[in-house]
Every structure is written in structure tokens, then in C-alpha cells.
């Protein structure tokens, strides 16, 4: 079954069409990279999947998006976003909350924990899943803003995982991190894709080649090429894809 499917998806901001009719099938439990130069619409596309685009009143979406075969506009946006976690370019743990609260908050709000003990178990589980537990288990009560950039980003992953989503969207999650922290995130993606569908936006072909199973190449709002990693990298069908992969565009 596909985790996410789009059919003739078009997105525009006012008069400006940024996604121009895209059909995409994202299979379950793999890492799917959406790649392309800046301004090609990759982040917009990602934000359509969890309906975060609706925060922008000028954004208009037409066409179809299905989440496990269900039209996403037939579910409530809150329910959809609980099932599709998202990690952003800028690590954004809530600065006024502690490490623990950051993970626990949405779990509490969505009434997903039966008791206090249950809640701390969920938090511990999520922090372990995001490979952060060992680093923060003694400072759960400290403010999240005291963590390093890479730790903050993993905290954001934990925060999303705590809601037990099926899909995890990542919008250039390593763009603001140093190479070592970025490496840890990439390792983590390898673990996560065993159980979740990870959709990652990146402008770096080398990152895509390290983490992804499938690649979609976007250029000026059009889907140029999509396929398994090896196929696209070794045998790009389109000249644009080849140019991008070899660094002659970007």
C-alpha cells in the first residue's frame, strides 16, 4: 500500500503556481527523497501532505492527495497531522518547555497517555527511538533551548514520534546542523525507515544518495523524474536530472 499518493496536484500562492500537476506514489516504510534546486517547490509539496499549507491563506491546492488511500481533505487536519509527523529545517523545540514537556505536550493534548506513568514511558520510548535518551536522560527537566542544535533536532523527531505517526516529513532537517550532527540524523533516518515512511526534502544529491530508497526530482514545480535511488542515480532518463546530480545545476 502507498503511504501517500498525489494525483494532478497543483498548488499556487495567489497567481503564482509553484506545483504544476504532480502524480506521486510514496510507498510505505521507505525513505523517499524529494530533491531539487532552491525554489522548485519541494517544501511546498511537503507542507501539502500534512495540510500545513493551510496556515498560509494565499495557498491554493487542487487535485488529490491520499494518505493510505484516504483523501486527506476527508479527515480533520488535526487527526492528519497527528499521523504525519514533521521535522523542520530550523530545529524548533518549544523554548519555554523542558525536554520532557516538549515530547509530552502534544501527547497530553491529544489524550494519548492513560496515566502519568504511561506518559513518561511514551516520552522515554520516543527519546530512545530518536537516539537522544542517553544524552538527555539526566536533564529532562532542563529547558530545551539549552540543548545543542543536533540534539534539538532529534528532540523534534522525538516529539513527532511520540504521537505514533505513520509518516515522518523532514524539510531539510540537516540544513542548519554541523556535519557530525547531520550524520547522526542521517543514521537515525536509516533506523526510522524500517518502521515509518520517511519523506525527506533535500537539495543535496549526496544526502539523498545516503538516506533514500526512492528519489523524486522536482524542477520549477514539475516532477521531472521519480524512481528507485539506483535507477535515478545511475541511469537518469532526463537531462535535467543528470545536470542536477552532477552538480552542473543547483
Amino acid at each position: 500500500m502507498n503511504a501517500i499518493e498525489t494525483r494532478n496536484l497543483r498548488i499556487s500562492y495567489g497567481e503564482n503556481e509553484v506545483i504544476r500537476g504532480i502524480d506521486l506514489d510514496i510507498p510505505e516504510k521507505i525513505c523517499f527523497a524529494i530533491m531539487g534546486p532552491s525554489g522548485c517547490g519541494k517544501s511546498t509539496l511537503l507542507r501539502a501532505f500534512n495540510r500545513l499549507l493551510e496556515l498560509n491563506p494565499t495557498a491554493k491546492v487542487s487535485g488529490e492527495i491520499r494518505f493510505f488511500e484516504k483523501n486527506i481533505y476527508e479527515m480533520s487536519e488535526h487527526e492528519l497531522r497527528r499521523q504525519i509527523g514533521m521535522v523542520f529545517q530550523m530545529p524548533n523545540p518549544f523554548p519555554h518547555m523542558s525536554v520532557f514537556e516538549n515530547v509530552a505536550y502534544a501527547v497530553k493534548c491529544n489524550r494519548m497517555a492513560k496515566s502519568k506513568k504511561d506518559l513518561s514511558e511514551i516520552v522515554e520510548w520516543a527519546l530512545k527511538k530518536s537516539a537522544l535518551w542517553d544524552e538527555v536522560k539526566d536533564k529532562l527537566k532542563e529547558k530545551a533551548s539549552n540543548l545543542s542544535g543536533g540534539q534539538m533536532q532529534r528532540l523534534c523527531i522525538a516529539r513527532a514520534l511520540a504521537l505514533k505517526p505513520k509518516v515522518l516529513l523532514m524539510d531539510e532537517p540537516t540544513a542548519n546542523l554541523d556535519p557530525i550532527s547531520a550524520g547522526k540524523i542521517e543514521e537515525l533516518i536509516h533506523e526510522l525507515k524500517k518502521e515509518y515512511t520517511v519523506v525527506i526534502v533535500t537539495h543535496s544529491p549526496s544526502q539523498a544518495s545516503r538516506v533514500a530508497d526512492y528519489i523524486a526530482f522536482l524542477y520549477l514545480g514539475n516532477l521531472i523524474e521519480v524512481g528507485k535511488l539506483e535507477e535515478v542515480f545511475e541511469n537518469p532518463k532526463n537531462e535535467l536530472t543528470e545536470k542536477f546530480l552532477t552538480g552542473r545545476m543547483g
Binding site: H78, M86, F94, P95, S145
Partner: protein, 277 residues
């Protein structure tokens, strides 16, 4: 060489004019304390606990005024702050709706509105129907004065919350009310609290809205529906009296008002730590 000279001249200008700008403030604080503190010391604790002396007979105390100021600040905050915070939140979160645009325009006008007219308005709608001046009428007038300050500060503070925190909250499936009140408002709390303090500071020193509403009380303290004194109101009336001891009491009251202001607001400003973003 010439450039260095220009640089030095520029810095000298900036320093001199900054000092000139600060002079009135320093002068006010100095004059109030120089004239007021000796009065307070002569009056002793009775100056803070007794009621007004008779003309020409000593200092007595200003307790009804202190009590009144606290009562008015409390009641006007109770009325004004919830409305102001909700209004500020509304215009920050729905910036494009027609209603929010008109609310914002109205708040800007209210900021500049002559406060004596607010007093007159409350007199017409509350004092005359009730047949008496009262603390509640005065508080309503002060709440109206306070409202635009708190609301605009709340709006600004909420707008300054970086978008990626809000997105992060929405992406967790949180509802708008939660995102606004548990995330944005908490991140913006320094700005919101600053707005509250400025609103409270503003009304604790206001005189004009009280003239037609509070009615004043010299010798007694009463309830919410009775006339009430206030320190600035006392100062305003006392300096108009032809008695030397009343003028002294006015200086003492001014020092008390300024002290209250400094003692309450400086530590609060320090205590509202900034959330690092």
C-alpha cells in the same frame, strides 16, 4: 584625520543629547524625593496609615489614597486585562479580517484619546445612572485607558513569535487555541507582561479619568460602589488648597507614588526573564 574628528564629534553629540534627554527624568525624580522624603520621615508610619489632616494641622496620613490606588489598579486590571489580551490576540492571529482591521484602528485611536473624555463618558453611562461616584466607575474608566496599551503590546509580542514555532505546534495536530495560548503566548510572555506593566503603570498614575468618576474620599475607605480616593487625585486636589501643610502632604504623596512605581515595576521587569528564541 578629518574622519576621526567627525567620528569624535558625532559621538560627543550623541552623548550630549542623550544626557539632555534624560535630564527632565532625573530632575523629576530628584525634586519629588528631595521635597517628599522629608515629609514622609516627619509624618512617620502614620503618614501611610492615617487619613487626611485638618487644614493647618500637621501631616496626618494618606492611607485612603494608597488604598484607593491599589483598589483601582486591581479592579481596572480585572476588567481591562482579559479584554485587552483577547483583543490583542485576535488582531495578531486574524490580521486580515475586516473586524480585526477596525479593532486595530480603534485601538490606535484609543492610545491617543484624551483621557478626560474617557472619564466624562463613564460619568454619563455609570455615575449619573448610579447617582454616585464610585470605585467601580473609576475602574471602568481606567480599564478603558489601559486597554489599548495592553492589547497592542500583546499583539506585537505575538507577532514577534517566530513562525517556525507556530508551525511546529500546528504540525503536532494541536488546535489553534492551544497553539496560541500554550505556545505562542508563553514564548511571547515577556512582551505581554511588559504590556501589562505599562498598562498598570499608566493607570496607577492617571488623574484625568478619575476626576468625573472616583469622587474622592479623604477620610474613609469604602467598597466598590462608594467614592474612592487615589494618590494622583489627592495630589491634584491638595496642591489647589491654600494650606501649607496640604502642599507638604502633596509632596509626600508624590514621593509615595514614585516609590510604589519604582518598587513594584523595576523588580517585575527584571523577573520576567526573556525566553531565548
Amino acid at each position: 584625520m578629518f574622519r576621526k574628528l567627525k567620528e569624535t564629534l558625532f559621538i560627543a553629540y550623541v552623548c550630549i543629547f542623550s544626557i539632555i534627554a534624560l535630564l527632565p527624568l532625573v530632575h523629576i525624580v530628584f525634586t519629588v524625593f528631595a521635597n517628599g522624603i522629608p515629609v514622609i520621615f516627619r509624618g512617620g508610619t502614620e503618614f501611610l496609615t492615617q487619613s487626611l489632616a485638618s487644614p493647618g494641622k500637621g501631616l496626618g496620613g494618606i492611607f485612603p489614597a494608597i488604598f484607593g490606588t491599589f483598589l483601582l489598579v486591581f479592579l481596572s486590571s480585572l476588567i481591562g486585562i482579559p479584554i485587552a489580551i483577547l483583543a490583542g490576540t485576535f488582531i495578531a492571529e486574524y490580521p486580515t479580517s475586516a473586524l480585526s482591521k477596525s479593532v486595530r484602528a480603534l485601538l490606535t485611536i484609543m492610545l491617543e484619546f484624551p483621557t478626560i473624555l474617557v472619564g466624562l463618558f463613564v460619568m454619563a453611562i455609570l455615575v449619573i445612572p448610579m447617582g454616585s461616584f464610585s470605585a467601580i466607575a473609576a475602574s471602568l474608566a481606567l480599564a478603558i485607558v489601559m486597554l489599548p496599551y495592553v492589547a497592542t503590546y500583546t499583539e506585537q509580542a505575538l507577532r514577534n513569535v517566530p513562525q517556525h514555532y507556530k508551525e511546529g505546534a500546528y504540525a503536532l495536530g494541536l488546535r489553534k487555541a492551544r497553539v496560541v495560548f500554550s505556545v505562542s503566548m508563553r514564548i511571547a510572555r515577556k512582551g505581554v507582561v511588559t504590556g501589562l506593566l505599562i498598562g498598570v503603570a499608566k493607570v496607577s498614575g492617571e488623574t484625568a479619568p478619575l476626576i468625573f468618576t472616583a469622587g474622592n474620599a479623604w477620610r474613609s475607605v469604602g467598597g466598590v460602589f462608594e467614592p474612592v480616593g487615589a494618590i494622583p487625585l489627592w495630589i491634584y486636589y491638595l496642591v489647589q488648597q491654600p494650606y501649607a501643610n496640604y502642599h507638604e502632604i502633596a509632596w509626600g504623596s508624590a514621593a509615595v507614588l514614585l516609590t510604589l512605581f519604582l518598587v513594584i515595576f523595576i523588580p517585575l521587569r527584571v523577573l520576567t526573564r526573556e525566553v531565548r528564541v
